[in-house]
Symmetry: C2
DNA sequence: AAGCATTAGTTTATATATAAACTAAAAAAT
DNA sequence: ATTTTTTAGTTTATATATAAACTAATGCTT
């Protein structure tokens, strides 16, 4: 009776995926810090605001897009506002809501960072040809897209 | 002049990779918290200690394996020791060094958690056949393995 | 052996993240 | 119209992470 040798297991795939992704993320974060005094979290906020164009986003919408808590958003936005990269305005329709948008300074800095960021990512992913990009995309979409809904597991799910 | 439409770009691949990986990680972390009052960080520590068998690991070696700072290790280990899951012993050869290993209770809990963890990962990755596992593994190894060395970028790298 | 440099780990200050309790405004129900 | 419930965001307590300054022991040099 020969023990079957499996070179690929879900656990191994997952560990490799997690390790490589974390390493790339740390590398990008470290580069943002060294070159722009920026973190990847704050960069992601600026990125979401940039995509939102002139209108900006409400605090809650930002939190939802970035998969972070409202409380975290409060903190991070207060820093970005203090640094002058983001404008904070009360919503005209709803007195509870806050609208955030890029300041001119924020837009300038973001464009500069985005260009550098694109180069870093290119240089990390340049070993992948178009075929491999498609394969990677396909594989990732096979992995339980319902995880992106943000629902929490409960004590008795299996 | 028609603008070329590229369905795959490194930036898109990277965003998908980061988003899916973070979502899976959050899901696993949430399940560990709900079912075992455990975080993924502490689980990773127990996992490294389990792999190290009887001998355990030094604080610095743990930090290196898990790609975290020494200071973080100090904190996390102090919690695991307080909870009785990990034993902390002075190294017999070097009075500066600390050796950590799983307690009996830690080993029991880890085995239980590892079995549940394996099931969760299976259920997330079960859409991938062996072929796709191999493809994923191959793709991930193409991505700058030197990032795993843990060196920091300097101000003037490009 | 004494002095210096390195190494192992801790401490402190700070950033980033969450959950839970809270405040205020808006929306829904009566 | 008043009460109740829901929604938007903040605050507080805590966990997790880092970098930089620090302490103590070890190893190296002379």
């Amino acid at each position: 009776m020969v023990k079957e040798i499996r070179e690929t297991s879900p656990i191994k795939s997952w560990l490799t995926l997690l390790t490589m992704t974390s390493a790339i993320k740390k590398d990008v974060d470290a580069r943002l810090r060294v070159q722009f005094d920026m973190s990847i979290s704050r960069f992601d906020v600026l990125s979401a605001l940039d995509r939102s164009k002139r209108n900006g986003l409400r605090a809650g919408e930002l939190a939802r897009q970035l998969f972070v808590s409202d409380g975290n958003t409060t903190q991070v936005m207060s820093r970005l506002v203090k640094e002058g990269l983001v404008l904070r305005r009360p919503d005209s329709k709803d007195a509870r809501a806050i609208n955030y948008s890029l300041s001119d300074e924020g837009k300038l800095l973001f464009d500069e960072m985005a260009a550098a960021h694109e180069q870093w990512i290119h240089s990390i992913f340049n070993e992948l040809n178009d075929q491999k990009h498609r394969e990677l995309g396909e594989i990732l979409t096979l992995l339980k897209p319902e995880l992106l809904s943000g629902s929490k597991p409960s004590k008795d799910d299996k």
